[in-house]
């Protein structure tokens, strides 16, 4: 049984090798072809320099042509620009004149209206001011009168108050003076009396006081009374 396996394997290996060989041959042939192509390209080098020179000449011509055309365009555009500049300047001038006139007209109208309004204002203001001044004067007069009256009243009240206080103070002081006089008189009388009462009279007075106290049960115990 193992022999077919070996056979199959061998066949497989042979097939693989064959395919490999074919691949190598193909590659070899391609290589050869490339080599031949390269060899032919070297012969064409001699013609490329001529081509290059031709190309250079042609490009030069194209450049000159382009330059010429560009100059023409620039020239034309400059002329156009100059022409347009003149037109724009004229238009601008025209527009500015128009607007200036317009603004001047407007300004003139505003001036006229303002001057008319201003002419009327003083009169109106005068009337308003006059009325206001009269009102203010009337109010001020009334307030001044009131203030005058109030201040007069305040002064009067203050005066009356001060007068009352002075009167009170006077009465108080007089009363104090009277008290002082009485006290002084008492003291003088006391001193005189004290000097005048001798020891015997003092004793007599004390005994009289003790007797009176006894009569009024001062010396008795509370439970005895």
């Amino acid at each position: 049984m193992q022999e077919p396996t070996f056979i199959y394997l061998g066949l497989l290996i042979i097939a693989s090798l064959t395919l490999l060989l074919i691949g190598v041959l193909v590659l070899y042939l391609r290589l050869i072809r490339r080599y031949l192509n390269l060899r032919e390209g070297g012969r064409a080098e001699l013609d490329s320099q001529t081509l290059l020179a031709n190309a250079q000449k042609k490009s030069q011509e194209i450049l000159e042509e382009a330059h010429k055309k560009a100059s023409e365009i620039v020239e034309r555009s400059e002329k156009f620009l100059q022409a347009q500049e003149g037109k724009v300047a004229k238009e601008l001038e025209k527009a500015s004149k128009t607007y200036a006139n317009y603004f001047q007209d407007a300004l003139r109208r505003v001036e006229q209206e303002a001057s008319e309004t201003l002419k009327n204002v003083p009169e109106e203001i005068k009337k308003v001011y006059a009325t206001e001044i009269v009102n203010i004067r009337t109010t001020l007069d009334a307030q001044l009168s009131k203030a005058r009256e109030d201040s007069r009243q305040i002064v009067l009240e203050a005066y009356q108050k001060a007068e009352a206080e002075v009167e009170n103070y006077k009465k108080k002081r007089l009363s104090q003076i009277d008290d002082s006089i009485i006290i002084i008189l008492q003291e003088v009388a006391r001193r005189v009396l004290s000097r005048e009462i001798n020891q015997e009279e003092h004793e007599r007075l004390v005994m009289k006081a003790l007797q009176e106290a006894k009569r009024e049960h001062v010396f008795e115990e509370d439970n005895k009374q």
């Binding site: 006089i181 006391r190 003092h202 001062v218 010396f219």
Partner: protein, 165 residues
């Protein structure tokens, strides 16, 4: 105790005023203290040197009797002194001893023997006396009459002064 009471009364006869009562109290306290100091020898020293002559005499006489407990006696005396009633007497002069004795005699007769006088000298009352005893107050001084009369005659006096002006 009755004997002691009699002896205490002898002490009290010599006590007229609060000041005298306080003095006797201090002496009794000192003597009692002396009984316990220096094994009782301090008592003899105090009796001779720190106590008034009449007090020392009375004490010696009492303690010379037999059966008298000195500490008890002195304590009894202190209790007696503490129980004294005081009449406050305010007068306008300084009385002599005789005058004071007469006042005290009267007061003791009226209020009892256990009474002393708490005397105050106040010249402002001019004359007479103010008596205060056990919450009762009696002013029989000249000052009161004086002030009363002055108040009554105040207007008259002031008008007299005005006339003088």
């Amino acid at each position: 105790m009755n004997n002691n009471q009699h002896i205490y009364n002898r002490f009290l006869e010599n006590i007229k005023t609060r000041r005298e009562a306080d003095e006797l109290k201090e002496e009794a306290v000192l003597l009692k203290k002396g009984l316990y100091e220096d094994e009782g020898r301090a008592y003899e020293s105090y009796l001779k040197t720190r106590v008034r002559a009449w007090v020392a005499g009375e004490i010696s006489e009492v303690f010379s009797q037999e059966g008298v407990n000195k500490a008890e006696f002195l304590q009894g005396l202190l209790d007696k002194l503490a129980g004294l009633k005081a009449v406050r007497l305010v007068i306008a002069f300084e009385p002599s001893q005789e005058q004071l004795s007469r006042f005290v005699s009267f007061i003791k007769g009226a209020a009892g023997q256990d009474t002393i006088v708490d005397l105050t000298y106040e010249p402002h009352i001019i004359g007479g006396a103010i008596i205060v005893y056990q919450g009762k107050y009696k002013d029989v001084s000249f000052k009161k009459i004086f002030e009363y009369q002055f108040e009554k005659e105040r207007e008259k006096l002031l008008s007299l002064l005005d006339k003088e002006k």
